[in-house]
Symmetry: C2
Subunit: 324 residues, 2 copies
Amino acid sequence: MGSAEFDPTAGAPAVAVDIGGTKVEAALVDPRGHVLSGTRRRAATGGATSSDGLDAAVLEVVTDVLTGNVARAAAATSGLAGIGVACAGPVDDATGLVTPINLPAWRDHPLRAVISAAPAVVDSGAAVVLRRDGVAIAMAEHWSGAGVGVDDMIAMVISTGIGGGIVLGGRVVPGNAGHIGQIEVSEHIGEPSLGSRTTLESVASGPHTVAWARSQGWSGSTGEELAIAVSDGDPIAQRAVDRLVDVVAQGICSACALLDVDLVAVGGGFARVTDDLVDRIAHRVSQHPLPYVASTRVVPAALGDTAPLVGAAAFVHRPDLLPR
Amino acid sequence: MGSAEFDPTAGAPAVAVDIGGTKVEAALVDPRGHVLSGTRRRAATGGATSSDGLDAAVLEVVTDVLTGNVARAAAATSGLAGIGVACAGPVDDATGLVTPINLPAWRDHPLRAVISAAPAVVDSGAAVVLRRDGVAIAMAEHWSGAGVGVDDMIAMVISTGIGGGIVLGGRVVPGNAGHIGQIEVSEHIGEPSLGSRTTLESVASGPHTVAWARSQGWSGSTGEELAIAVSDGDPIAQRAVDRLVDVVAQGICSACALLDVDLVAVGGGFARVTDDLVDRIAHRVSQHPLPYVASTRVVPAALGDTAPLVGAAAFVHRPDLLPR
């Protein structure tokens, strides 16, 4: 969210890297969680890309950031704090191997080792810390977003998929914890996702919600079109949003019954399909019969699409939020 | 599970108290997790009992244990380590107020204060530590049961209700976390539980499984009768167990997708409805498409019906397993 000019007195910036199903981004992020102006780089990934092609995309953006003017200025003054990498899951924290669901070319791929061996990374002397992207988003919202001061929280994203991360006792839960899209929901059937049609993601992801609306006779084909149709009063589009509210609230209630958190921050592009989507989900959660579930605050995520980068930087800048 | 004679050289025992929907139990438990022989006391509770009646039942068993021969011998030699109380949830750890779902006479009831003020407790000088029963069960299985050495685990109970507790990073998750019976499941409709017919508990608790079998034409009325009918080859009873396996495996997969634990210990009387129930659940979980879910070990709980007492004692003997 916040961006800033590089200021060597603010402390050494981190290189933050976010690797997802459609793109890889990297940027410098300072110790206050601000993305440094002019440092953000992006390259395409995609489920059809080969493993070598994915590696090349990652190394291109990382090298671009490390050899850019701002990184060179930082190296000469404050130094670089390290390299934080957020990758789509599952991820093995201990080995640095990644197996992203939506990047099939990578299965037990040694991503941490690949990045660590890149010449620009070796030259920088910076260490690489790799975690799952949902872990990054949860750390980011807890560090400088909607969850500041809330020690027990979930951050989730409704987008092409549905995922997230968990903070308990003021520290992020490591590994693959937070895959909220993979929990079962009742009374709805969606499109196949990981072999199931009854998980939160299979019912309520952006593409699957669009597919449901089309199955009911709606003629659009994107989430953006669905958002317009809702605001135009299209009854099928409105029912699609009603269904989305119902099933996301269900998923949040299940997670909150299991985890007893105080806050759920909901982000991702599809969470903006209507202006009041998160408010409507919050209202549904507030009606749960268990008081400790009903009292959970459900709020919009604060960091928008910089959350994974800010969280990747937090792997470096805020090790106190990682598990002991 | 283990029981032992009092031995002052083994260290000061704790008074352990377990308060549930049908009974309250108390006993002395030594620092190794052994229930001391001859110290276990029990009184009835029940959903129709008044608040004063419940208090009286609790204070009766606690006083009986504290004034018994073994406690007096301990007080004169090793001393008493403290009083650990496990209560049906929800429980507010900070205030010591309890609101057990199945004891409607208690709503925000100051249980910790009531026990702390009992004359025998005041005389003993022992402090009272109160937590939810599912937290106790998870601590017990991690301390001395099926989860020894496993830092990320769930312990759950299938009985009149379905509940449990969570250990992450070698420490129990506090508060109400672990209410696995309250998560949604797909493709099954059960009996109403907390206003829902689509949670794990509403579909798969002992009484609700029996009710389903009866709805299909089975003529028995208890879990014990259902167990016999299964072993006799009754097709409806067998289908009831198939349904139980399916839905409990679903609930475990949801919890494991969200939490990335390594082990789930399954206990409770209804988990013994067939000898192979937990093995069948484990097999279903092993087929999950997410490898980190499929690799979760699902095993029988080891401590049987002493788990809540052993866990309540762990509140005193193993503060290192409680949150920092």
